[in-house]
Each structure stands twice: as C-alpha cells, then as structure tokens.
C-alpha cells in the first residue's frame, strides 16, 4: 500500500507542476513521462526498425575491470555484450546532445529571467497560439511565462540524471532498453530546444509569426575587413545580443563589424540583420586562421577547443563568455574593464568573462584598439604556389583527412598554378586542420587552400522560428493526403561529403513542390550555392511553409519547431488532443505525416539526439555517409518485416506489406542515392490514391534520373491499386507489375500502431 500511496503523491506533484487544473485539454496518459512511461511505444518502433550496430571498437574501456574484449559473443567482466555496449554509447551521445541544448536553455532562461523577470509572458505573435507543441505534448504544461519554462527545464534535468545513471557500470543489460532510454533522452532534447528557442524569441524579440524575414549577407567576403571585426562562435545568443545592444547604445555599430560562425551566426542575425554570417562550422578554423577577426567571442557547443592557441597564431584575442568552455583562461568577470582591455591589447592575453555586458564592452574596446594593427591578408597566388611546391606527395595529409580527400594532388596542382580541381576539393574540406599538423614539410595546408577558397558572397534568409498555426491549417490536409509530397527537413552539422550537396537537394525538392525546412549549418550551406540568375535557394523559392517553400527555421535549437510542426499537424489539423499524449502524436506522425529529416553532415552528439528525437516522434532521418560512425541505425528489412497496422476505422489489423516508412535512421553514401531515398521515406500508408501517385511520380522520376533508368526494384510494394500509379508511367509500371504477378491491396483507411502492441492508449484516441 505504501508504494501505491507514494505513486499517487508523485502523480499529484506532477499534476501541480503542469497546472492540470487548467482545462485547456484533458491531461493525457503520460504527463512528464519518466523512463518506463513510453517504453512500450519504443519497443513497438524497435520491433520494425531494429537497431543496426557498427561497433567502432572491439572493447569496452569504461571501468577498471577492463579493457574487456567483446568480440565473437564475449561479454565483459560486468556481463555486457557488444550490442548493449553500442546502445550504451549511443545513449551517452544522445545525453551529451540533450544536455548541450538543455544547458543552453537553462542558461538563456536564467539570463532572460534576470532581465525580464519570471512573469514575462510568452507571446509568439498573432499567428501562433500553439506556442510549445513539444512541451505541451511531452509534459502536459501549457507554458505561459518564462517561469513556466523553468519548470519544464527542471523536469528535463531530472530525467537526464536518471538516464545518465543507467550508463554506470552494472546496470542496464538490454540493448533495447538502452535504445528506449536514448529515445527518451532525445525526445527530451526537443523539449529543451523548444524551451531555449521560445525563451530567445520572447526575451530577445526574435522574429515570430512571420515568414518573410530579412535577407542576410553570408560568406567571409561579406565581412567588412576595413572595420574592427568581432567574431562570435557558438550557439548562445546572450553574448551576441548583448554585444549588439552595447554597440547600438554606444553608437559604435557603424564602426564595428559583427560576424558569426555556426549557430550563433544564425541567432545573431535573428537579432540584427546587419550582422554577417561567415559560414558553417566547417569554415571555423579556416576563417580564424585568416586573422581577420580582431576579437573572438566564444560561448558554447561546436566551438574549437584550441581557440586561444589558434588565436595566438594570428594575433586575435579570445573572450570565453560561458562557463562551458573556459579554456583554462583567467576568469576576469569581476575585474575592472580598463584593466582587462589593457592586458588584452598590450599583453595579447585572452580571458574568460562570464558577464555578457562586460564581455561586450571589452570586446568592442579591444577590437577598436587592435584592428588598426591587423596585418593579416589572404595568401597570394605566388606564396601559395611556393608553399605547395614543398609537398613531397607522402600522402600523410590524405591519410588523416576525415573526408578522405586527396590533398597531395591538390598541393601539386596548386604548385603548378592549376586551381580548378583544388577549388572543387575545397568544397569538400570540413576544415578540421588535421592535415596541417601531419605534414612533415610543415606546409600550412589550410592557409594554402585560401588561394582556392570562394570569394563569393551569398544571401540567406534569417531564421524565422516556429511554423505558424495558420500555415499548418493550410497544408495539414495536403500533407496527410499526400498531395504535398512531403516535408523535408535539412538539419545538422557540416560534415558533408561535399558542401554543395545540401543546396542541390534543397533545389531539387523545392522545385518538386516539397516543403523544405532547414536549420543550423544545413540552413547556411543551402544558401552557399547560386542557381539560375545567380540566386540562392532563399532568393529563388518563397519563404512559406507551403508547397515549394524554403524555410530557414533558425539555429540548432530551432529544430524543435520542426518536430513541433509535425505535432501541430496532428493537433491543429487532425484535432487530436496533444496534452501529455506523446504516444498518440508519435503514432500519427509516423503513420500519417509524410516528413523526412536529412542530416547530411551530421557529426556532433547534438545531431545524434536531434535525429533520435525525430525517430521517437515517427520522423525518419536520412544521414550522410560519415554517420555510420554514430555506430547505430534503425533499419527494417522490407521483404521480411512485419508491416501490419491497425485500421482504426475498421478496427482490424491489416497486413499491408508496405514498408512505409522503410527505415527511420538510415545512411546513404552519395547525394544521388539520397535524392532517390528521400521521396520514398515520405510515403505513408494513409496517402490518398492521388497523393500516392504524386509521391510515386517523384520516386520513379528521381530513380530514373540518378539510377540510370528502369523502375525501382521495390516499386510494387508501394502500389496498392492501379490508381496509385502515376499517369506518366502508367504503361511501363503496369507491364512491370504484371510481370512480377502483383496483386492489388486494400488501402488502410486510418493506419495506426495503437492496438498492435500492449499500450494504455485506447484505439479511440487516434480517431479524429
């Protein structure tokens, strides 16, 4: 009885936290879910989409019993096997990612509550009433103030602790349960991201309820080098927004150039459209080594850990603005500003300054003082040729290159004055600088590559935050019926096989009237290629969340608005209650919303949790080739797996034989193959014949374009009836289907997993 009482008390506490008495919707079955609460949903997902593990390492080295050999069925001293070890590593990666965003959210909330008070109202503008779809769905709380967001982030912190606990020696022993925990951590990541971005939008007055945000200049050539340059690197806009406030208040904004790299660039340009975007993470070291930045202000996530060392090489000064990355620097937060400025200018010192206002003042003063002495220039053709001429073709650079690039050949070409091929190679460079440190001739390879770096500038639309409720009302029906063939979200880091890939894919699918949304580094690189009339995809396509639109949602934390848009379709369009009703939302998205994430350059742990969070919500994610190094995918086997679903209208389980979506975490090797896979991953069982025919039209035509003709080998699995066959391929497809003995299948009226596995959710809950 004691156990029952304790549980009741706990439930009461949760109901208090989520203000259950406010009846905006009935409270669903899983308010503020804990580890086991959505486990049955995870197990259902993992039944079809089984984990695929590619261990990096044969061993476990995490405790002093080890190293333990886990090859060929062996278990470690604790009893763990190789699959469970992989799942544990994946959980750790997802926790790192979730913590990074939750930490960001917690910090920004603290900063903004200090500034505006906890009662600051959350107002997302005229066209957004459903302000926090992830938070409402997961926790059951409708946040009305910044203070409410604090309640949410404290819930996330608590769950992170329990999840991290489970990775300790001698606990979880099932890879499936570790996967369930990874899915839990990653769902929480989307909650944390949503907290961060709502707080930022409200606290910094970022754009909201608007599609047509300003166009921003991008590229290193967009940076006005004649002015003092302050470079912001990282993710947290407390630093950059405070800097811009300082410059404005002191009438210095005309005199100082503010530029950003990585997500902080996107955040900064949501605050001021005069700031410049240098580019994605892959351009960080390259730009820093140019020496153009007089002062570098770092905050958190995806910043180089050797920033002070690199800055020293070119005479830039570093201010570490957040406690997450202090580089061993002296903490000058409480020092007198003049003294800090003096030491940075005269002694070339770097400091940690954790007060954003002081950091802003110091950065501006130092940049103004040292910029006249800046002598860094791009390398000349002659200097590059001379340096490249020292190359002995030893291949050491190629051996250490994460993108496997043939840099020796590029050095030879450059030394001979042939820049065309090296220019193409530069587009594939992820900018890590490992080649430099390996070169026995000490050739500064990254600097030599300046000679082939593009001097172009581009235009990118500023991040616009959440998708508007009004937009969802317009597109909900065509998306779920399939007449808008899909929503494709390009997200994640810049570990690309080729930097042009993302722009090419965005162009292809926007032309085909898919809705394309973007965040983070992917949003930047999509704009780094010009198409017809010298325009980028942001200039060619409308900014609306509608067929053929190209929507820059914002930074990494804005990824929550992408999952949020999927939830909004279920709630606003299909009128399914979302409050503490995660399982129903996820089931709807998986079975009825033709959405697909593309994390083509995914590299970080944050990308792991963002993607895995999409997976739990039923959104498949296609990854680039590097991502096999995450060690885990979720794949089905289309011919052999169980594709039964419940038809909620008929209340019958139906064997569809249709693998839609076929995988939920998948790696493609080339852009061409990704182009073929993406339309397939947007197919859903509830597509109308018209919608299916449109989707198959894209699948077939892209297959013909990139696979050399013919029809997809698995086409028959996606044709239910003759009406599904696209008109233009009718004859060819009919012949093929006849050849293989295809038989028509009954379409499913209302497909759902609910009713096919043990769950507390009643079948009626998915009927709208």
């Amino acid at each position: 009885m004691a156990g029952v009482k304790a549980l009741t008390k706990k439930q009461e506490e949760v109901r208090q936290l989520i203000k259950a008495e406010i009846p905006w919707e009935p409270v669903g079955p899983t308010p503020m879910p804990e580890i086991p609460d959505l486990r049955s949903w995870d197990m259902r997902l993992l039944k079809t989409y089984k984990p695929w593990y590619a261990p990096f390492c044969d061993l476990c080295c995490l405790c002093t019993y080890g190293k333990c050999d886990l090859t060929q069925g062996r278990r470690g001293a604790c009893g763990l096997d190789i699959a469970t070890q992989q799942a544990r590593i994946i959980l750790l990666a997802c926790l790192m990612g979730c913590s990074a965003h939750a930490g960001h959210a917690g910090h920004i909330l603290e900063f903004l509550i200090e500034k505006h008070g906890p009662d600051k109202k959350i107002d997302m503008g005229t066209f957004i009433e459903l302000e926090a779809p992830n938070i409402r769905t997961v926790t059951g709380l409708k946040p009305e103030t910044l203070g409410d967001l604090k309640t949410v982030i404290e819930y996330v912190y608590k769950e992170i602790t329990h999840l991290l606990d489970s990775t300790h020696f001698g606990q979880e022993g099932s890879y499936l349960d570790y996967e369930s925990k990874a899915l839990h951590a990653s769902m929480l990541d989307h909650v944390g991201m949503e907290v961060a971005d709502i707080a930022q939008i409200v606290g910094f007055d970022f754009p909201t309820s608007v599609a047509d945000t300003p166009m921003i200049d991008m590229g290193w050539e967009a940076v006005d080098k004649s002015k003092p340059v302050i470079l912001l690197v990282g993710h947290n806009p407390a630093t950059s927004c405070t800097l811009i406030d300082y410059l404005r208040e002191n009438k210095l904004y005309d005199k100082v150039e503010v530029a950003g790299i990585c997500c902080t660039a996107l955040e900064t340009t949501r605050y001021s459209d005069r700031a410049k975007i240098v580019g994605p993470l892959s351009r960080q070291l390259f730009f820093i080594r140019s020496g153009i930045a007089d002062v570098i202000m770092t905050d958190e996530q995806c910043i180089r850990t050797d920033m002070p060392i690199e800055a020293d090489k070119v005479g830039s000064r570093v201010i570490a603005c957040l406690d997450k990355a202090m580089y061993g620097l002296e903490d000058a937060t409480d020092w007198d500003t003049e003294e800090i400025v003096k030491q940075m200018v005269e002694d070339k010192k770097h400091f940690a300054i954790l007060d954003p206002e002081k950091a802003a003042e110091v950065a501006a003063q130092v940049a103004l003082k040292i910029s006249p002495r800046r002598k860094k220039e791009w390398i000349s053709d002659e200097e590059a040729k001379e340096l490249a001429g020292k190359c002995t073709q030893c291949d050491m650079c190629e051996r250490v290159c994460p993108n496997l690039l043939g840099l020796g050949k590029a050095m030879k070409d450059i030394s001979e004055g042939n820049f065309d091929e090296p220019q193409k190679l530069f587009n594939k460079c992820i900018g890590c600088g490992k080649c430099d440190q390996e070169c026995p001739q000490h050739i500064p390879i990254l600097r030599v590559m300046q000679v082939v770096a593009s001097k172009e500038t581009w235009r990118i639309r500023a991040g616009r935050g959440a998708i508007m409720d009004t937009e969802i009302r317009n597109v909900g029906a065509p998306i779920t019926l399939g007449t808008i063939p899909g929503v494709i979200a390009f997200v994640g880091c810049s570990n690309y096989p080729d930097i042009d890939d993302v722009a090419d894919m965005v162009y292809e699918f926007a032309k085909r009237k898919y809705i394309v949304v973007l965040t983070g580094c992917a949003a930047m690189v999509a704009g780094m290629k010009k198409f017809e009339e010298g325009k980028t995809v942001y200039e060619l396509f409308p900014p609306d969340f509608d067929a053929g639109g190209v929507v820059n949602v914002g930074s990494c934390v804005s990824n929550a608005h992408i999952t949020g848009a999927a939830i909004k379709i279920a709630n606003i369009f299909a009128a399914l209650p979302l409050r503490a009703n995660y399982e129903v939302m996820a089931d709807y998205v998986l079975n009825r919303v033709g959405a697909c994430g593309v994390a083509w350059g995914a590299m970080s742990q944050k990308a792991a949790s963002i993607g895995t969070g999409c997976n739990r919500l039923g959104i498949p994610v296609l990854l680039g080739p590097h991502s096999s190094k995450y060690r885990r995918l979720y794949l089905s086997r289309k011919e052999d797996d169980d594709w039964r679903v419940m038809d909620a209208r008929k209340r019958e389980i139906m064997d569809t034989g249709e693998p839609s979506p076929e995988h939920i975490a998948y790696v493609a090797e080339t852009k061409e193959k990704a182009m073929v896979m993406i339309p397939k991953l947007c197919i859903r069982k509830n597509d109308t014949p018209q919608g299916r025919s449109i989707k198959l039209n894209h699948y077939i035509s892209l297959y013909k374009k990139y696979m050399g003709g013919g029809l997809p080998e698995d086409l028959h699995l996606f044709v239910r009836r003759d009406a599904d066959i696209p008109l233009v391929y009718k004859k060819e497809v009919r012949v093929y289907l006849k050849e293989i003995g295809w038989q028509p299948k009954e379409p499913v009226g209302l497909p759902t997993f609910i009713g096919t596995y043990p769950t507390k959710v009643p079948l009626d809950a998915v009927i709208h």
Binding site: G73, R631, L635, R637, V667, E669, M677
Partner: protein, 182 residues
C-alpha cells in the same frame, strides 16, 4: 599491426583482418566459398587503372567465378551502361543488415552467403559495414575486400598498396587464378 591507409579506420581492438598479398590465396578462398557475394560501391565507377574502370575488373571477376552481385548506391547505373544487370540492389547498410541474419535467403534465394567481398564503398563506410559483420555475423560468414587499402574489420584484406600498379597486378593475377579454376 597494420595501420590502415585512412586513419579514421584505425582498429581499436584485437581482431583484425588477415592481410593477404598472394592472389592465388584470395582465389582459393573465393573458390572454396559455397555462396560468395560481391557487394559493389559507387567508387568503382570513378576509379580506373590505366584507363580501365575498376568496375570492369569486378564484372570480370564476377563472371569468371560466377559470383552474384549486390549493387549498392548508384552502381546499378554503371552496370546497366556496361550492358549487365546486378543480381540485387541494396544500399551498403541494407545488404549488411540482411547478411547478419543467418536465416536470410541470400540474393539468389538459395541461402545466406558464406563469403562477402566488398569493393568500392567509401572506406569509412565500408569499414563500418565490415564491423557489423565481424561482430554480428561471425558465426556464418567471412568478409574480404578488394580495395587498394587495408581494412582491419574484414576477415581478409589486401595491404595498403603504395602504387596503383601493385593493385592492378593483384587484380589481374586474381582474374588469372580464378580462370585456372574455371
């Protein structure tokens, strides 16, 4: 310990591939296999040795030794151009996903394969695919590579050939050896 050419593929572990430089030994292993499979990657359409595309060498090997082909990624396009068709089309991660199941029927529906020969997939992805099979298919199949570099997670691998001509000589010799067993 052999260090692979691409350092991202350095082995952290103890079970590494047997390095084989003798084409006749490779030929023997292939000929002994009951149900071998060639898994081909898109780089075969880009790489060439003295003007001959690597995929042409591979198709010759497949034909002589009667090995079915799984075309990954966009390999099918080049095969069709060259007037042939693959026995199956899967992506690298998909074919590996099937191969690790001992009860899978194989591309010919005759049973799972006992020797899987990888060739032409970008090296970090290929090494990860080999890792899947090393850890989860060790009871029922062996893996082999024909790429220019050493792959630690395979069962049998070529060395890091410094010169293309060494690689070419190996492939030509392998073809000759396989012809002897026809």
């Amino acid at each position: 310990m052999v260090i692979p050419f691409h350092r991202v593929n350095v082995l952290t572990g103890i079970k590494s591939a047997r390095l084989i430089e003798d084409a006749s030994e490779y030929a023997n292993l292939i000929q002994k296999a009951k149900r071998p499979l060639l898994v081909l990657g898109p780089l075969l359409s880009e790489w060439s040795l003295d003007g001959k595309l690597l995929i042409e060498y591979t198709l010759e090997i497949a034909k002589i030794a009667n090995i079915p082909i799984c075309a990954t990624d966009i390999v099918k396009r080049k095969m069709v151009e060259l007037g042939t068709k693959p026995d199956s089309v899967y992506d690298a991660v998909e074919i590996v996903n099937a191969l690790k199941d001992p009860d899978w029927r194989g591309v010919k529906k005759e049973g799972n394969h006992d020797l899987v020969i990888f060739f032409g997939i970008r090296s970090d992805l290929e090494e990860q695919c080999l890792s899947v099979l090393k850890h989860f298919a060790f009871t029922h199949l062996k893996t082999m590579t024909l790429d220019k570099y050493y792959f630690p997670h395979a069962n049998y691998s070529l060395p890091n050939f410094r010169k293309d001509k060494q690689w070419k000589a190996f492939l030509e010799s392998l073809i000759d050896e396989l012809k002897k067993g026809e």
